[in-house]
Amino acid sequence: MSPAAIVTMAVVCGLVWGGFVAFLGRAVSRERGR
């Protein structure tokens, strides 16, 4: 794979999957705090 493809994959997957995991983690911690 070209470096540009690797960087784009890291950015897109990192943003989308990382974002989902981060929001999910925040929701879990909020629910535990209730």
Binding site: A4, M9, V12, V16, A27, R30
Partner: protein, 491 residues
């Protein structure tokens, strides 16, 4: 609303809403659109529109449902003013007309799940199986079966929807993840990843790529359909809006990414030379003809084919359930008991879905017409929010009990950016249709023409405008238990 009509927890609401959002569009449309729009460049635009279309609109829908505790028509009448009930009627009508043919699609998925389980797809030519099935009496039977399954879930109300979502959505996520892992471990799969993620910077200058990215976000996240509004009616009073919207938007697009990796890696690993042909085969051709071909050539493919159609069936059914609930909820607002309302919706779905099940040209026409109607639905949500006051909506509903602070950027996105996006989308669609067929684009009998959309849309809008007074009277006739004070907006 009875005392039991609410989601038992945040997770019930989030899973049900994810079930609504994750549908066949994620699994069969997204990979095809990525491949047709130069991969990596499209993905960049797609992430941008997740943030400036889908998530802000999801928050609008959550806010409408939470504030008014009414279905689409009642929510628009209560928040945007009684003169705007017809806008909610358009949103409800569009989603319901999509439901009529979406149950046909769900039936196809069930049929192929059965064919994968019995080994029929491995033994016979998938193209011949599809040609013998699509538009046949058997498709009408599977349409009825899919509708019956969704009907049985909605029969038990919100608790039924929640219980099913708690099982199907985590299972769906695992299935898609397993299939994606299998795909990326195939020899030659890296060519699929390379194609999918390589950015072509010159492509980013093409407006069509950005508009395709907006279209994909508008259609596969479910933002602006009225479905999130319907589920938000049943959210707990102190439930958070922004964090749920972000979680659902990002969760939906996470599934799309996995599906894209699964399909494109499989195609590039097994038939790299046929990429253009496979991608050009359309949603049904890719899913029901090419995917069985590809699985048949993959080691252990018979098992993975079952998992693929199981995932597709789960995705389709959970979306169909939400569409059934949307129409049912509108009738409940009109004063019907839930099960009587559902009976009418189910009967209408069965009857009005039949032409799409039996005749593929009707199916394609309806898909064309009502998919186009969704751009108007998104615009109507933004206009209704403006009418109520976008900043007021943010302060009074969205910021209340929020686990994630939302600033004035959201107000700007909903008041200015989303209407501009919707108008650009509609304008581009008109222009592209004209350029493709300058002499026939306005033909009302053309099947896939602007004329067909305009005629059917105009008839629907004229009927809704004429019936506005009755829509207001029926949808606001009963008090909405649990609605926040001051739900009424402009006059």
């Amino acid at each position: 609303m009875s005392a039991g009509e609410h989601f038992s927890s945040r997770w019930g609401l989030v899973l049900a809403t994810l079930g609504m959002a994750v549908g066949t569009g994620n699994i069969w449309r997204f990979p095809r659109v990525v491949a047709s729009n130069d991969g990596g460049s499209f993905l960049i635009a797609w992430v941008v529109f997740l943030l400036i279309w889908s998530v802000p609109l999801m928050m609008v829908e959550f806010a409408f449902g939470k504030r008014t505790r009414r279905g689409c028509i009642g929510a628009f009448a209560a928040l945007a003013g009684r003169g705007r009930a017809w806008m909610g009627g358009w949103v409800a009508l569009t989603a319901t007309c999509i439901m009529f043919y979406y149950s046909v699609v769900s039936g196809w998925c069930l049929r192929y799940l059965g064919a994968a389980l019995t080994g029929e797809l491995a033994r016979e030519d998938p193209a011949a199986v599809w040609d013998g099935f699509a538009g046949s009496g058997a498709a009408a039977v599977t349409h009825a079966l899919a509708l019956g399954l969704a009907f049985a879930v909605v029969w038990f109300g919100v608790r039924g929807i929640e219980r099913v979502a708690r099982v199907l959505i985590p299972t769906l996520a695992v299935l898609v993840a397993v299939l994606a892992v299998r795909a990326v471990t195939l020899p030659g799969a890296e060519r699929g990843l390379e194609f999918m993620f390589t950015p072509r910077w010159e492509t980013l200058a093409k407006p069509s790529v950005w508009l395709e990215a907006l279209t994909q976000n508008a259609w596969d996240t479910g933002a602006g359909w009225g479905l999130i509004l319907t589920y938000a009616i049943y959210m707990r009073l102190r439930e958070d809006v922004p964090l749920n919207a972000f979680m659902i938007g990002f969760g939906n697009n996470s599934m799309s990414l996995l599906a894209g990796i699964m399909v494109l890696c499989t195609v590039f690993a097994i038939r790299p030379g046929a990429r253009a042909e496979i991608v050009g085969a359309g949603n049904e051709g890719l899913t029901f003809v090419w995917m069985p071909h590809l699985f048949a050539e993959m080691p252990g493919g018979a098992y993975f084919m079952v998992l693929f159609f199981l995932a597709l069936s789960f995705a389709a059914l959970t979306s169909l359930i939400s569409m059934l609930e949307l129409a049912t909820r509108v009738l409940i607002d009109f004063g019907f008991q839930r099960r009587r309302a559902l009976g009418w919706v189910g009967a209408a779905g069965l009857v009005f879905g039949l032409p799409s099940a039996l005749w593929m040209p009707v199916f394609r026409n309806q898909d064309w017409v009502w998919s186009a109607g969704l751009a108007l639905s998104g615009l109507f949500f933004a206009l209704a929010a403006r009418r109520f006051g976008v900043e007021r909506l943010r302060r009074e509903v969205i910021a209340e009990g929020a686990d994630l602070p939302i600033g004035r950027w959201w107000t700007f996105l909903v008041a200015v950016v989303i209407p501009v996006e919707a108008v650009a989308l509609i304008g581009w669609w008109l222009w592209a249709s004209y350029k493709e067929d300058p002499s026939g684009w306005l033909n009302p009998f053309g099947g896939y023409t602007v004329g067909a959309v305009l005629v059917q849309g105009a008839v629907a809008l004229a009927a809704l405008l004429a019936a506005n007074r009755w829509l207001v009277r029926w949808s606001l006739s009963s008090p909405a238990p649990g609605a926040a004070n001051g739900a009424e907006g402009g006059g």
